[in-house]
Symmetry: C2
């Protein structure tokens, strides 16, 4: 069990000992420390989060309920299955960062996972790192935190997305959020390993202070706008495309990992104009892209909103996969008029 | 980059050379083989799957469309984001199996990931392996394959789940399915590493032949009912609980990994009677459970159906996270009657 024990143990050791160098020596330590240390750590994170939620002001009575919670919200915000997906992604990321910190400590090269300008998904070319300090780049919404306050309000209204209400949420919804399970440990590992934690979000730069306060409030800060917090409007960005900001971040940092809930959190190439759902799936499963998932690029689940929620019947269910249930024979129908004596009884039509 | 290169390379080597023993020597091989070999392999898998879909009979024209495809179906079956989650889980599982096969080859103990009777999630105890042949246990629906034919029919009808139609689907829907991205490679790695591939599904035992044919048809077979295929009705099971079948499988095999889209695919303990959404989330993020995700237990996304789709407003959005948008001031209202000359103009009420 050495290989598997090693990473979990090294992660735990990093977290416990607060020293990236620990990643190497403790490898020899065997399995003993693994569960206990990592447990203590997980317990701490959960207790802190639970305490924070409890500390929130008492909420007014909920508004009268509309039809109910959309299934995608039940899944993402309330299912244990989604918690497992979150932890699977973030435990993998924590172990990945242990490997990165080990490479850094022993002087091995580490590479950037940010595609360079002019690169394609078929011919990927990554930006050089050239001695820059290491960083990990996170999206914020439904990657670092769950926007429970905003989505709960939307669910109660039963209305479509409201951009103005979202802008209000960016400014005022700084506390009604929950950290995505597992992230607190990843951030701890990153910071102890001297890997900078950077956020690249499509929240607006004009709301940077509120967003920074929100991240601080849930223990993901501190962040500095323009250094470890990048928002829509920064680096000349005028829309939701993130490559420009990624390149600005990569000009200063060696981006060793990225985490998001949308393909656009990894490269704008996935969202080429007119890209069909099939094209986006093909791109995500491309020859090189396939090797990135869980290996530099870390995806979090979000069926609630985003660029993936597209497609008509034939996009989602290719005609070649069309299935028609077996017809069930209809029961003999009673004739309107009583049958004439001796006439044959009506027979159910064969279908 | 050694550590990270090693696993991907070893996986690729296993796949290429068809020999579990390859896992060890090739580690020294460096990065060269990594992308090329793994690429070739991924390309093969995708080509085979594409060819299979093309080979399906031409489908009749789709029925007139109802309101549209539910977002959760768009996400799971048509988004590149879900493809990334699938590949992230299954590339991780493939690398995990390389570690297992390495442990087996060098004579290290490997442990079962099946909880023993009487164990709890807080006090986990796993079944002994004691020299049994290694196996990996997969759920089938939305874990091994996507039920495009059935779900597409359901989406067109816009009706709720129909158990009779599902039973018909088990018997007749043997071709209108798609393999979950990444699984074909995992199965190849497992079989080359001499790790048995076992399926534990809640499909009915009486439809075992059709289910086996379906798995064969998409290249996931062969399976033998009662040995590598376990269904509802086997091992005395009378409902969707799977522990009994897991223990029957574990009596013959050392179950080194499990994969599913529902918490019940890993332990029935997650579905204790009356378990609230909050309790299931807490259980999934428990001290020991946390360490299993991506490390013996591998979760696949499924927001379309299942035990996770539960909860009212206050379950999904805890009252402590309640947020109320900032009221927008109402514009000055024009008075019904023209104001009397000299009377103060009406002023918008301050809120």
């Amino acid at each position: 069990m050495m290989r598997r024990a090693t990473l979990a143990l090294a992660t735990a050791a990093l977290v416990l000992q607060g020293c990236a160098a620990a990643a190497i020596p403790v490898v020899a330590g065997g399995l003993v420390g693994r569960k206990t240390v990592s447990d203590r750590n997980a317990r701490k994170a959960r207790k802190a989060e639970a305490a924070r939620i409890r500390s929130l002001p008492a909420a007014p009575m909920p508004a009268p309920m509309l039809p109910g919670v959309p299934p995608a919200m039940q899944y993402l915000y309330a299912s244990g299955e989604a918690v497992a997906l979150d932890l699977q992604a973030y435990m993998g990321l924590a172990n990945y960062l242990v490997g990165i910190s080990a490479d850094l400590r022993i002087g091995h090269d580490v590479d950037s996972v940010v595609l360079a300008p002019g690169a394609t998904l078929e011919q990927p070319k990554f930006l050089p790192c050239a001695g820059k300090p290491p960083a990990i780049v996170f999206d914020i919404d439904e990657t670092a935190i769950h926007n429970l306050g905003f989505e709960g309000d939307a669910a109660r209204r039963g209305e479509a997305y409201d951009a103005q209400r979202w802008a209000d949420w960016e400014r005022t919804g700084t506390r009604q959020v929950a950290v995505v399970p597992g992230l607190t440990e990843v951030i701890r590992v990153a910071r102890l390993a001297k890997i900078a934690v950077v956020f690249n979000s499509n929240r607006l730069a004009e709301n940077a202070d509120a967003t920074a306060a929100m991240l601080d409030g849930v223990g993901l800060g501190p962040v500095v706008h323009g250094d470890t917090l990048w928002l829509q409007g920064d680096a000349g960005s005028t829309d939701s495309r993130k490559d420009g900001r990624r390149w600005a971040i990569a000009a200063k940092y060696c981006v060793v990992a990225m985490s998001g809930d949308q393909l656009g959190d990894f490269s704008d190439l996935f969202n080429a104009p007119g890209a069909t759902p099939a094209a986006r799936r093909e791109a995500a499963a491309g020859l090189h892209t396939t090797l990135m998932w869980g290996h530099g690029w870390f995806m979090l689940p979000n069926p609630v909103y985003g660029t993936g929620l597209r497609g008509g019947m034939d996009d989602v269910f290719p005609p070649a996969t069309r299935w028609t249930p077996t017809p069930t024979p209809t029961p003999n129908s009673t004739p309107i008029a009583a049958p004439i004596a001796g006439a044959p009884a009506p027979v159910a039509k064969e279908k």
